[in-house]
């Protein structure tokens, strides 16, 4: 039998026309290779198109979001103040071994640096940096540099310094200068963990009055935990009734969940200010039913923060649970009941396990969001109820201690990313969804 004539067809694969031979026993291998090549080409083109579509957003976020955060994290170890503004001193102090008062060259270098920085009005930065090492160092530097001789160099810089302030003979001040005369430092990161570095490179616990940050992180995590637990306690039954309470109930409950979700965070926060104040509705109601005689403090304390934050975050708990519960077939619980399980057992053994992924997703979301909260604690809490975010903003705006702000940011970000990575893998979460 003669070979069949090649039957060539024009087909469209992914929108591109190509010619394919369908029946030709002799050249089958050749034709299939051609087809494979063509498919690969199309595949490559598809991939390029996908990259081209994602590219703009990727670049945008890389520049406007990721790069700024990386630069900020860099500030947590960046230590430019002394190196930049006291360059001669930085060089002169390297030879000093740390025992006794340094010699004339170090004093001369510092004298010239202070004079120069004083005139350029750039003394504030190194003075503030050195003050982090020894409290009171800033005013010592400022007072000294106001009294330093201008123009003509004095005969002995060392004598001049010691005449202005005898404290300049103390090695600890020079040690502080030497310690900070490095382009990078672990000072802020260690301080954020209530640690500090000694001059010989060891790490010790920070003095008690400065050791506030572990407590701060602990408080932040504890508050986030309480808020997550309260949201779960309130959100699970709510989601359950939304799914299993009949169609009318679902519609009504959806409104109760979604309207607060869409309402501005500040509207809800101001509502709680109004409700929880001394003469607010909650106090009035409690007095009216006779539960209390005098108004109780419900706001500007921990309670106020909890109430406000649970109110804001509850929809974020309900929605993932609701989404998962909708996928649980009613027949499973019915089957359990028909096999003799009581409603409690059927719930515990059959229903609850099938909703765990929703519970996990909701808890993770609420926990992560609450760890980073700033506005609501700032408006509803006292200074003792503030979370890490508040201190990051405080150091950035109020004390301009950007190294400390960045160090706290590094630790907060690392904690959140770790939490997210561990739990999302453990729970096998897919992509997040919005109900």
């Amino acid at each position: 039998m003669p070979p069949l004539p090649a039957l060539r067809l024009r087909v469209y694969v992914m929108g591109r026309a190509m010619t394919v031979a369908v029946v030709q026993p002799g050249g089958l291998a050749e034709e299939s290779r051609a087809l494979k090549r063509a498919l690969k080409r199309v595949e490559r083109r598809r991939r390029l198109r996908a990259i081209g579509l994602i590219g703009p957003l990727f670049l945008f976020l890389a520049v406007v979001f990721a790069l700024p955060i990386v630069l900020m994290l860099h500030r947590a170890v960046d230590n430019p103040e002394v190196v930049t503004h006291l360059p001669r001193t930085t060089e002169a102090i390297q030879g000093w071994e740390g025992d006794g008062t340094p010699g004339e060259p170090a004093f001369a270098a510092l004298g010239q640096d202070l004079n120069e920085a004083f005139y350029a009005r750039r003394l504030a930065e190194p003075a503030r940096r050195l003050n982090y090492e020894i409290t009171g160092f800033r005013s010592m530097i400022m007072a000294t540099s106001r009294k330093l001789p201008r123009g003509e160099a004095p005969e002995s810089w060392k004598r001049t310094f010691l005449d202005i302030d005898p404290a300049w003979s103390e090695p600890r001040y020079w040690q502080a200068i030497k310690d900070t005369a490095q382009p990078y430092t672990l000072h802020y990161l260690l301080a954020a963990l209530d640690l500090r570095m000694t001059s010989d490179g060891g790490v010790v616990a920070a003095p008690k009055e400065q050791a506030i940050y572990r407590g701060l992180f602990g408080r932040t995590l504890w508050m986030a935990f309480v808020i997550t637990a309260a949201s779960l306690l309130m959100g699970y039954p709510l989601a359950y009734l939304m799914v299993n309470g009949g169609k009318a109930t679902r519609g009504v409950l959806l409104i109760f969940v979604l309207l607060p979700f869409w309402t501005s965070l500040l509207v809800r926060t101001s509502a709680w200010v109004v409700l929880l104040q001394q003469e607010g509705l909650v106090n009035q109601a409690l007095q009216w039913i006779g539960a209390i005689d005098d108004p109780v403090q419900l706001i500007y304390n921990r309670f106020g923060v909890y109430v406000g934050m649970v109110h804001i975050l509850l929809p974020f708990m309900v929605m993932p649970i609701y989404a998962v519960m909708r996928g649980v077939p009613a027949s499973h619980v019915q089957a359990a009941a028909s096999l003799g399980a009581t409603p409690f057992t059927a719930f515990r053994r059959v229903y609850l396990p099938q909703t765990v992924s929703g519970v996990g997703a909701g808890c993770l979301l609420v926990f992560i969001l609450s760890v980073g909260f700033y506005i609501t604690p700032a408006l509803l809490g006292s200074p003792r109820d503030q979370m890490v975010s508040y201190f990051i903003a405080y150091y950035t705006n109020q004390t301009l201690n950007w190294g400390m702000a960045s160090a706290l940011g590094v630790i907060l970000l690392a904690a959140i990313l770790l939490l997210y990575a561990v739990f999302s893998r453990m729970l096998g979460l897919g992509r997040p969804r919005l109900a």
Binding site: Y12, M14, G15, R49, A50, G52, L53, I54, P56, L57, F58, F60, L61, V64, F65, P68, I69, L71, M72, M234, L238, L241, I255, L259, W262, T263, S264, L265, L266, V267, R268, T269, S270, A271, V273, V274, L275, Q277, E279, H311, L314, T342, P343, I368, Y374, I375, S389, I392, A393, T396, N397, G409, L412, L413, I416, L417, R431, P432, R433, L434
Partner: protein
């Protein structure tokens, strides 16, 4: 099938043992309390905004529209509203465009490292706002974008973009790709397929994403506190200061108007979702 003629009084299913009967009522009571907790504060502020007095307490001394009159004065509230609308619309256009393109790209599949890329694109949602705000603040200070409209719009866009990506991706998930193949096999080029098939089908999802983006920007305070100068003071920023310094019924009047905005957004999203499901042949 229930007889439509009989009215069913809500209650536990028949033949339920007493302990479960109690449980049935207890759970509904608890959920009702949760619902009161969710909605009551939002409703409680509405009457005070119509108060003729300046205290934020009940009983109200009388009815007045004075606080609304104050809100409609050019300063500070209408100025803040104008700024919010400028920034919000800028961020919405940018975020919707970038987010929709990226979602289309992600849906093409078989991209190496797709889930990592996806995680990166939605990471502004996960990173605490203060960290984003401080980082962008330092960065924009270097390139002179602080206290400017473009700076604020760019910052809000970064925060809003994940919501667009997620919403449009969800729309594309139920997307019947056979429709695209059908279009291609009939000879339509990629652009034409996009314009005539893809876009009309995902339009409700894109619109939802745009609404999300606008809502995010319209309600954003933290990044605004850092990036905005006095000339870019937005509505939430103005409210933040108001609540901190002296909270007056005028703030509650603004709040009441914002609740109406929230209601409108919620209803619109609901309608868009229904339309999107219908277009994609889903029945929810």
């Amino acid at each position: 099938m229930r007889n439509p003629g009989t009215m069913r009084i809500p209650g536990p299913p028949p033949h339920t043992p007493p302990v479960y009967r109690l449980w049935w009522y207890a759970m509904r009571l608890f959920v009702a309390l949760v619902c009161i907790f969710l909605l009551a504060p939002i409703l409680a502020i509405v009457p005070i905004s119509f108060s003729s007095g300046s205290f934020l307490t009940y009983p109200l001394p009388g009815f007045s529209l004075q606080w609304y009159a104050e809100v409609f004065e050019p300063r500070p509230w209408m100025f803040a509203l104008k700024n919010s609308l400028i920034v919000g619309s800028g961020a919405t256009v940018l975020a919707t465009t970038l987010g929709t393109l990226a979602a289309l790209g992600l849906a093409k599949g078989n991209l190496p490292g797709r889930s990592a890329v996806n995680a990166f694109l939605i990471s502004p949602m996960i990173v605490p706002l203060v960290i984003t705000a401080v980082g962008v603040y330092f960065f924009f200070a270097r390139i002179g974008l602080n206290a400017s409209y473009p700076g604020l719009i760019l910052g809000h866009t970064a925060l809003a973009v994940p919501f667009v990506v997620i919403t449009v991706t969800a729309t594309l998930e139920g997307f019947d790709t056979n429709l695209i193949r059908a279009g291609q096999s009939l000879g339509a080029g990629p652009l034409r397929v996009f314009r005539r098939i893809t876009l009309p089908l995902i339009a409700p999802g894109v619109a939802s994403g745009a609404i999300f983006a606008f809502a995010i920007s319209f309600d954003e305070v933290v990044v605004t506190v850092f990036l905005a100068g006095p000339a870019q003071r937005t509505l939430p920023r103005q409210m933040f200061d108001g609540i901190r310094e002296n909270i007056s019924p005028a703030i509650l009047a603004v709040a009441t108007l914002l609740v109406l905005v929230a209601l409108a957004l919620m209803v619109t999203i609901g309608l868009l979702k229904r339309r999107s499901d219908r277009l994609r042949g889903l029945h929810g």
